[in-house]
Symmetry: C2
Subunit: 406 residues, 2 copies
């Protein structure tokens, strides 16, 4: 049925799920072991759009890719793990550009149609010899079945591969969307990088693709927080090559809505997988806030709760500590009436109209011992809402981040 979104949890190598994409992941020897170069290529020129870190300290590949997007004619994404190419000055910029020109000359495409991303340690120059031979290997290894190896090529300390895919019918034509991701906020002990690459065979203009990925990020990647730290390298890139044969999406019509809805299922699924794989995480936490004066205000409150170390340690301890949640809401910098606050853990109400209410302590503890926790906070009667995802804060978070040495 048009607009119905199909999804699956099976690992399929999602970045080659859509028609006309090939990919590869190879070992260049940048990180200690495993694939560390990923390449994703569209058979034909694709609309391309991207989103990048808002950190003032931006890695070289972020500067290179950001300047090239959105664009028509996008052909490839090349990424490396093990070295962030951040705080590397002019040499770093030259190296990032060299990565794209190595790919473009081997593929015989325009240099500006290649995008680049990096993740890994900060402040070290890229080993360009290894990168160059790695890129050659990656081009030779390109395959329509290469999605899984490309996914492995961008992983760093991730404990699980993260991919998601969806298909949707637009005017009787099946359109596919597939995405991969690595990291979260500060999942990597040294840097802080989230990379996500999405491919689709939808036909959509660069402008509309840019709009779609921005709106989608607002309800997915931008609702994600592990510890409030944002990376120098965060990058989301989407390629849409039109090979599904669906009619061109060139305005905000019902086709755009159908495509966007399918895209959201992929990006939200990826965001939740990233939160669940936060460093040391033992559970995924969704914070829903409703009733502030705007959706932005709701998100501010939700993020402040989700980033509170006190809330996160209480969740690790499976403690229904509503006082910490309220105190975090109260310092979010958003106006609301403290006497109108309701608070629930799952379906268990702990606070009504700003005051504690009796609740079943055993049931609350049992709920909080689960692996998926939902905290719901109502701060007023407005129609707006927001939800964000995070994880709890365990001994292992401190262990991973304290014992890592630069």
């Amino acid at each position: 049925v048009a607009g119905d979104v199909s999804m699956s949890k099976e690992l399929i190598g999602a970045v080659t799920y859509a028609k006309g994409f090939s990919a590869s992941g190879v070992r260049a020897g940048i990180k200690e072991s495993g694939e560390d170069i990923a390449l994703i290529v569209s058979e034909v020129p694709a609309s391309a759009a991207g989103l990048f870190t808002t950190n003032l300290i931006k890695a070289a590949p972020v500067n290179v890719s950001q300047a090239r997007l959105p664009r028509s004619g996008g052909r490839a994404i090349v990424a490396n793990s093990g070295n962030a190419n951040a705080c590397t000055g002019e040499q770093g910029m030259a190296d990032a550009q060299k990565m794209t020109s190595l790919v473009s000359s081997l593929l015989g495409v325009d240099d500006n149609d290649v995008l680049v991303a990096s993740t890994g340690v900060i402040g070290h120059m890229l080993p360009m010899d290894k990168i160059a031979s790695g890129i050659e290997k990656a081009v030779n290894a390109l395959s329509p079945d290469g999605g899984m190896s490309a996914l492995r090529g961008i992983m760093t300390t991730d404990t699980r591969p993260k991919e998601s895919w969806a298909s949707v019918e637009i005017n009787g034509v099946e359109v596919r969307i597939g995405g991969i991701a690595k990291g979260a906020g500060m999942i990597d002990p040294n840097v802080a990088t989230m990379l996500s690459f999405i491919t689709t065979d939808a036909a959509i203009t660069p402008e509309l693709l840019d709009l779609a990925i921005r709106k989608s990020a607002d309800v997915s990647y931008n609702c994600l927080t592990v510890d409030g730290d944002t990376s120098t390298n965060d990058t989301v890139i989407i390629l849409a090559n039109g090979m599904s044969g669906c009619r061109m999406i060139d305005r905000e019509n019902s086709d755009f809505e159908i495509f966007s809805k399918a895209l959201d299922t992929v990006t939200i699924d990826l965001a939740k997988q990233i939160a669940a794989d936060g460093e040391g995480a033992t559970k995924i936490v969704e914070v829903e806030v409703v009733g502030a004066r705007s959706a932005d205000d709701c998100k501010k409150i939700a993020k402040t709760i989700a980033n509170s170390p006190l809330v996160k340690t209480a969740l690790y301890g499976s403690d229904p500590n509503w006082g910490r949640v309220l105190a975090a809401a109260g310092r979010a910098g958003v106006a609301f009436d403290p006497n109108s606050v309701d608070l629930l853990f799952g379906q268990i109400k702990l606070v009504e109209s700003g005051a504690p209410v009796p609740f079943d302590q055993a049931a609350a503890n049992k709920y909080l011992q689960g692996q998926e926790i939902i905290i719901r906070v109502k701060v007023g009667d407005g129609p707006d809402s927001a939800r964000v995802w995070t994880c709890d804060f365990s001994y292992d978070y401190v262990k991973i981040n304290a014992e890592y040495h630069t």
Copy 2:
């Protein structure tokens, strides 16, 4: 010499150091053990001023005291530990007012001249029977030597008593200032309360005292962060009774500057003691930022660095992870040129003009193994600066906050 500030680390019961103050700390049975009611009284009416939490969720005693300050004629501060009287609705407001009226009727002073503060668990009604008999005991126990017992009366999970004092000559007259404090950001596993009470025998109008404590807080308490969480109960109250006999400070003249400088030494010393006693802290960390476009911008950057869990865990691990410091600075929401950033741990320079420079790794590790760490970040050539204090983030922070159960 006029303006020279004398200080000491000896525990003297600082809140009765200035002339004309008596105090007591007694056990009322609110918390599990130890003194849990503190009372501080001025022999004569005093100028009084205060600062309170900016959290939207304010405890009842905060609302009561805030409405009464600044004022002339202040006579007493009553505080309890073990129960925050927060999220307690109208009953909580009545109970906070009852605490002041119990004191005022026993002392024979005006009710509005008594201030109140609480710290402890959120969401429970005060045990008013215990409070009432405790206050009676506290009034009977008042003594010019009661400063130390009053200090014990406000402590919760503090591992060390925190007090500071200074004396300064104003126009040939010795003026004394003494202060006590408890907690830090979220030092208490359940709430988040910093209480600080300061007494002085300076003669100063309520308006100027209000100005002095606000300016002083900006370079002390407001530069303090343990985990970014702010309490429902944070309270600073200062009483100035004029009994030194110094001439009245009624404008921003040199006497005001001398008094303010001495006050700053007390509040900064208390703030640093609070940071050093953060939950699970193994070291105190000072973050200095210079060169942003305003002092406020410098403070924003410094606080973002000081609150970064990644920076704090790296410091716990004694790792000179400058990349995390830069990444935190870059997401502070303040504009600066990434290529103009210098970064030092103590005297060891790790980053110059935005790029890493070779440094003595062994010396850096040794420096970071110390108990007092200074991180210096220069982000531009402006004259403004800010410094904030925090602590590192250890296994024990998670342990204390996860294992506490409501």
